[in-house]
Symmetry: C2
Subunit: 344 residues, 2 copies
DNA sequence: CTGTTAGCGCCTTCAT
DNA sequence: ATGAAGGCGCTAACAG
């Protein structure tokens, strides 16, 4: 239970602690090979590992970046966390992840915890419930946001990573139009976030450009069970929205969901209503979470390039001098089996 | 970018640093209320947060536990990470999570990283690819495993948290037998882990006790794409195993999958073969991941009490003196719509 | 090329 | 009830 320290290694190797330190930090510029060998052997013999706390205290920086997500139990954010971990590893960094459960107080608290750990920067995939507070954090370390509510001047110091949300819905509409659809619905929760607003804008624009009917279905259910993990709510919202798609005035033959979770809910709702997908109605999601492939039928979707986005987010923090890797990331249309030509 | 330190607070509050320290550690025994108030105000005014690295260096322990999972992109382990985070929070602890991607070298490396951070203990949900190494780690800090390959004497120092795996399959069989099934298949990858062996044992035993036919389908595909995230492989294995269920000599009218991911794959495969669930064949999974509810039809499953298990794992590390909270956790049968009476 | 030294920010006796 | 002092393990000058 008592770890060997740098002095123990130095003693065993017959050199001074600073040589060990140099060795550990790859400052081998002027070190004789035999010294290196001795050090290496002493380290292994003792099973020595440098104490991160001491190192951090001395250097002032941890080799950690912080990550905030609504919940790791949410498939999308689990995948995001995985991508961020991979991205950080490329820079020799570790990731400390916190779930906020969409609780503003908890969000504030874990931000403070992250700061106390001396993280090099914070990536947040959690909605910004308290903009003021987040902005304050930027004075302590770089902050990169994946989801942002507004995009005004107060966020100048918050870097934003985003897919081209308008392009996603535009591509979806174009795919559907090519298939022959003339009336399409977009199903979304209330557009509180910029992401959603952009998706709506892209939808409206594409539908207008194609000269077809666009039906906006805002699914809002305050009666649902509270949902700290963020999965259930969207799913349920989608399921209950299915009826509104079916009864919409413009008689849509296809539905675009604000994301895959909602699409899956819509799929279940539609089937309960006796509609077949895609024979009666086509369905498209956004994100490309794993279960799109397992859905019945496999779900056509617009894939978010999560790894590329995570790479960019981490790069903004750990290598801010490199060229900012693109502003908006392009969604990729993944055609599976939930879209087809409209009935009749 | 430069954090206030304890001295700054002391100066502003007009007291000594140690009073601040006492305040921070709730050693308020002899402190005058007005002093406390001054300190409190100074802290808020400066936005002061104690430096974790310094605290840890001094006290020797971090308030962190480590968590190893194959990948957070895997739904089950995302949920597990979430549960562990919640459990640790109850003890005022944070969690540092690493994905191993089932790479033994990486597993070793991140274990070492965790040790270097001075974690209080390590929870591993990753298969033990290198038992020797893990055992070595137990001399540095407590280790709790969720999934273990063997259970021999060498693991005496590794605490194990497990659902009663045999009970899960037994319950599944009993549920099916009650429904009227007389021939049941268990579909599993090769039983490399104790978990799987136990599930098989429970299955065989229950099937024998009921006097019905039990078909063991070992799905083994080395030709599949490598799958660092662990989702795809099981899904694909399930899908390709569907044909073997259908053609099995005992003509099973129901299938139990080793877990939900595989069950979902089996479901897709069965449908591709033209079989309806549950009309033609019943299907049961194990775990109760979120998508069971979204599956078509909603999947009957044996729920793992993840939160209770996470609580127990964390307790073993952070409060080892309390009574060990049960050895085996009971699975809970969640009946949805994928099971019904057999055809004819 | 390697050893010596002086803290990093905090906590913990021990005095006061 | 509060202040002073030493050191946790490591790194980064600077000596030698």
């Amino acid at each position: 239970m008592t770890e060997p320290k740098i002095q123990d290694v130095a003693r065993l190797a017959g050199v001074s602690p600073s040589s060990i330190s140099n060795f550990l930090n790859n400052r081998m510029g002027q070190m004789r090979p035999d010294t290196q060998a001795k050090i290496q052997q002493a380290i292994e013999q003792l099973g020595y590992r440098p104490n991160n706390a001491a190192r951090q205290l001395k250097t002032g920086v941890a080799s950690m970046v912080g990550l905030l997500v609504p919940s790791l139990a949410n498939q999308f954010f689990g995948a995001l966390a995985c991508a961020v971990e991979t991205a950080a590893a490329r820079h020799g960094c570790h990731v400390m992840t916190f779930s906020t459960f969409r609780d503003p107080d908890r969000e504030r608290a874990v931000m403070a915890d992250l700061l106390a750990y001396g993280v090099k920067g914070i990536v947040t995939g959690s909605a910004l419930s308290d903009t003021e507070h987040l902005v304050a954090v930027t004075s302590r370390c770089p902050v990169v946001a994946f989801d942002i509510k507004r995009n005004d001047e107060s966020h100048a110091r918050i870097a934003t990573i985003s897919m081209d949300n308008a392009a996603a819905t535009t591509l979806a509409v174009q795919h559907l139009v090519t298939l022959g659809h003339r009336a399409i619905a977009l199903v979304t929760p209330p557009p509180y976030t910029l992401n959603r607003q952009e998706r709506i804008r892209g939808f409206l624009q594409a539908v207008g450009a194609a000269g077809i009917a666009g039906e906006l279905v805002i699914a809002d259910a305050t009666d649902g069970p509270s949902d700290p993990h963020g999965d259930t709510r969207l799913f349920e919202l989608g399921r209950s929205a299915a009826a509104r798609i079916v009864t919409a005035a413009s008689r849509p033959t296809a539905a675009i969901a604000i994301n895959d979770m909602m699409a899956i809910g819509i799929g279940v709702g539609l089937k309960q209503l006796g509609r077949r997908i895609p024979a009666d109605i086509s369905l498209i999601g956004i994100d490309d979470i794993f279960f799109c492939a397992a859905h019945d039928p496999p779900l056509t979707t617009l894939r978010q390039p999560i790894q590329a986005m995570a790479d960019a987010a981490v790069q903004r923090i750990l290598a801010p001098d490199e060229k900012p890797d693109g502003a908006l990331f392009a969604p990729e249309l993944i055609v599976r089996s939930s879209t087809a030509t409209p009935p009749r």
